[in-house]
């Protein structure tokens, strides 16, 4: 299962966990599974997130693949100039 790292101030919405394991094949499935398991994360996900999968930052592509061994980091939604 992919390991999803939550930033520190998100952990209080996931029973204090730093890393949540998620069974998902895409970024979209991963976010849906996270919200289902931890509804408190819903507002953060709805506000928009950037996601880094295996070192690559993916802005908003829910179709981007996630592998069982993937390391995923959630980031606040990034804006550019």
């Amino acid at each position: 299962m992919a390991k999803v790292h939550l930033w520190a101030s998100l952990r209080r919405f996931a029973e204090g966990q730093e890393v949540v394991e998620v069974d998902a094949a895409t970024v979209g499935q991963m976010l849906d599974a996270l919200e289902k398991a931890h509804p408190g994360l819903g507002p953060a996900i709805k506000a928009g997130l950037s996601v880094a999968v295996d070192g690559e930052v993916i802005a908003n592509n829910r179709a981007a693949p996630v592998k069982p061994e993937s390391e995923v980091f959630l980031l606040q939604r990034l804006k550019g100039g």
């Binding site: 101030s9 953060a44 804006k79």
Partner: protein
């Protein structure tokens, strides 16, 4: 510095042809936002709040409407209700609701038969205000007793007990910070501040809008992203986005400030109320500075531990940033991960709050958040280097991120070029120049994520063997040239035979704006795929004529060739031959590609600056300036150098002079370029550039965005150079002459 394992030796990529828009721009033929006009067009003016915070008691437009030639007035009462979230924020900023939230906040707009008449009419609109307490400073906005501007503004992230002006909170990190500090030989902690600065684009915002009673509209607008303008304007006005067609003009700079709406929907609202006549609205410079988004102001606590050999053992930051009176606008989400992105440090703690204040709604500005963060962290690193008598480049080489490093924000870096920029800076002649009296040298590195995003591109083969490419990312920094070069390289035809057009919202699928340093990367990547699709079809046409399998045809040098001796002997069939008869071989040939582009590759740079400070006046003169940055592959090196120089110039302005100055009454004191001092050519030396090329594996030609990183290092590099020249450390930007002089005197 090309890598051995990456293809080089391109025919067109990496050359410096004339810019396709150059002649139009130097002859005045290029049409910018304010150049567009339509028959029967009206002109608009906006009534703006003179108060930083006030309840709007009454708006009386009767005298304005009585003027002959005045055709329409709109207020918030003309806007739809029921919006939520960012749509409501956009509407609130387009026209104030029951309260004006900053000096310059739009309250009403009027359309008349001439611009002068519209301005006269605006002055006749009587607004009754009840002035409310205000706060404009980021630290003052969090102080006990500060007026709470918008009760309930905090989102899910804000822990209980924080000030009512805190809208967002963020925290992350790794490792044991306290153990890291305990292992250091020197631990220092300071607070750094940066003022809000404006993007300072030369072209003010301008738009022409037309909307009929049927709710269908059209807009011609100066913008970085016309699909964003369409979506946001439609949301604010409560219409379907599909009923709005938006055409971008040429653009005289944006730097992030034109990725959103400010006054554009007013042209449509006024047009609809004026019977469908087109309405033009052009902002003055004062309106631009008072009412369009500058960047955030910041107050930042930094603590770093370092060993005597330069090893950084731990870092800790707490940032406070205000982005105006609207939540979600200060770049804490970018500033925090950028802060230590250049380093590989075992223990880090990042924390930030977003604070709202009575200032205009902030917008993105070139690497949003990264320059402020760099000012704080890179200044502190420089302070430690000077205290421990260490070379600042060697310290960065020792602690700097490299391939395989875990980034400060979590993910592991792959194929980055920070170390290469440091080595190139160290080897550059500028780093060896002997400094004279009152002179100092500053070094800093910078980072930006870069971006891909939603992209749609189309390509059509011409009957004459040319190619026309349609892109949706307005060309701000030379993307038409760079995309033309990549398409020429892919098709194997001369650069002059490729024309790249920026087209309107009805001509392509959705495109994100030209932002995040993405245009050459993402539109270029999609254009290459579109060209490959057209090549596949051209090979198919040649194969049909030769009566062989399409797989037995290959494309090179602008022509279809039999792939090998077994394919048969046929002379090459050029793109011109295929194009000239495509109507009879199956119809027009085109390619298109739609993607949410990934693989954009992070960007790093290192700057070295030498300054001389006049000890009598505190004036800083930049003697020489060096930008070294990783471009992946420089498609059009002159444009890449231009981005490096432009970013450095803006950063130098931020470091030395630029700042929003608010009076005790909450009004902006310097809303003209005479008082808001951006650097001009005579202020700066020629900015030297070195293009490092560590190709990005996520792009067919190795491109990584180059537009934003360049603004990041100048803030700390300049302040550090001044510290070197004077012995006085400025921790609050700008390093204006009075501030530098006071610091020198305090040091004496």
């Amino acid at each position: 510095m090309a890598r051995d394992d990456v293809k080089t030796g391109y025919k067109y990529v990496g050359t410096r042809p004339n810019r396709p828009d150059g002649l139009d721009k130097v002859t005045g033929r290029a049409r910018y936002g304010a150049d567009f006009s339509l028959p029967g067009m009206l002109h608009a003016a906006v009534v703006r709040s003179p108060h930083a915070h006030a309840r709007i008691v009454k708006i009386d437009a009767s005298k304005a409407l009585a003027l002959e030639g005045v055709k329409a007035v709109v207020t918030r009462a003309d806007m739809p209700t029921g919006l939520e979230g960012e749509d409501l924020n956009l509407q609130d900023n387009t026209l104030a609701g029951d309260r004006a939230l900053y000096d310059g906040h739009a309250v009403a707009a009027v359309a008349a038969t001439s611009a002068l008449l519209a301005q006269d009419a605006a002055r006749l609109i009587e607004v009754t205000y009840e002035v409310l307490p205000h706060v404009t400073d980021v630290d003052a906005a969090m102080a006990p007793g500060a007026p709470v501007i918008r009760p309930g503004v905090a989102d899910y992230s804000v822990p209980e007990g924080m000030h009512g002006n805190v809208a967002r909170y963020m925290k992350f990190g790794h490792g044991d910070v306290e153990a890291g500090f305990a292992a250091a030989d020197v631990v220092r902690e300071h607070t750094y501040k940066t003022e809000a600065t404006h993007q300072g684009y030369i072209e003010p915002h301008a738009a022409v809008g037309q909307m009929g009673e049927d709710g269908r509209g059209e807009m011609w607008v100066c913008t970085q992203g016309h699909w964003y303008i369409r979506r946001m304007s439609a949301a604010v006005l409560g219409i379907e986005a599909a009923n709005l067609r938006v055409t971008p003009s040429e653009i005289g700079g944006g730097f992030g400030g034109k990725t959103t709406i400010f006054m554009e929907p007013l042209t449509l609202a006024l047009s609809k109320k004026a019977g469908g006549r087109p309405v033009k609205l052009v902002m003055s410079r004062s309106e631009v500075l008072r009412a369009t988004g500058p960047t955030a102001s910041a107050s930042m606590d930094v603590k770093i531990g370092m060993k005597k050999d330069g090893t950084i053992t731990a870092g800790q930051i707490f940032f406070r940033m205000q982005g105006g009176a609207f939540p979600g606008m200060s770049p804490i989400g970018e500033a925090l991960p950028c802060a230590f992105a250049c380093y590989d440090i075992p223990a880090l703690k990042h924390e930030a709050v977003e604070v709202i204040a009575n200032r205009p709604k902030a917008a993105a500005y070139r690497a949003p958040g990264s320059p402020m963060a760099a000012f704080a962290v890179e200044s502190m690193v420089d302070e430690l280097c000077r205290e421990l008598n260490l070379d600042p480049i060697e310290v960065r080489l020792k602690n700097g991120a490299r391939n395989g490093s875990k980034s400060s924000y979590g993910p592991v870096y792959t194929m980055i070029g920070l170390q290469e920029t440091l080595e190139a800076a160290k080897a550059h002649p500028n780093y060896k120049v002997k400094l004279g009296p009152n002179q100092g040298r500053g070094v800093a590195s910078g980072f930006w994520f870069n971006h891909g995003g939603e992209t749609s591109v189309s390509l059509a083969v011409g009957e004459d063997g040319t190619a026309t490419v349609m892109i949706g990312t307005p060309d701000i920094g030379g993307s038409r040239a760079s995309i033309g070069l990549m398409v020429a390289e892919t098709l194997g035809i001369p650069y002059e035979d490729v024309r790249v057009n920026v087209v309107e919202t009805g001509a392509l699928g959705v495109n994100e704006p030209t932002h995040g340093s993405r245009a050459t990367f993402a539109s270029g990547k999609a254009a290459v795929e579109a060209a490959n699709q057209a090549i596949k079809e051209m090979c198919k046409r040649a194969a049909a004529e030769w009566e062989i399998d399409a797989e037995a045809v290959e494309w090179k040098d602008g022509a279809a060739h039999p792939a090998g001796p077994n394919a048969g002997k046929f002379p090459p069939m050029t793109i011109g031959e295929i194009g000239s008869k495509m109507g009879g071989t199956g119809g027009p040939i085109s390619g298109h590609h739609e993607v949410t582009a990934g693989g954009y590759g992070a960007s790093f740079g290192t700057h070295v600056v030498d300054v001389e400070v006049d000890p009598e006046t505190g004036r800083t003169t930049v003697l020489r300036y060096l930008v070294v940055q990783d471009a992946g592959t420089a498609i059009h090196p002159a444009y890449v150098e231009g981005q490096y120089q432009g970013g450095a110039a803006q950063g130098i302005g931020w470091a030395l002079n630029e700042e929003y100055v608010y009076g005790a009454d909450g009004r902006l004191q310097n809303p003209v370029f005479l008082d808001y001092r951006i650097p001009v050519a005579s202020d700066l030396p020629m900015i030297d550039t070195v293009i490092v090329e560590v190709p990005n594996p996520g792009h067919p030609y190795g491109v990584r965005g180059v537009g934003e990183t360049g603004i990041t290092p100048p803030l700390p590099a300049i302040a550090s150079a001044i510290a070197g020249a004077t012995g006085a450390r400025i921790r609050s930007l700008p390093c204006s002459p009075p501030k530098v002089l006071a610091a020198i005197k305090a040091k004496r």
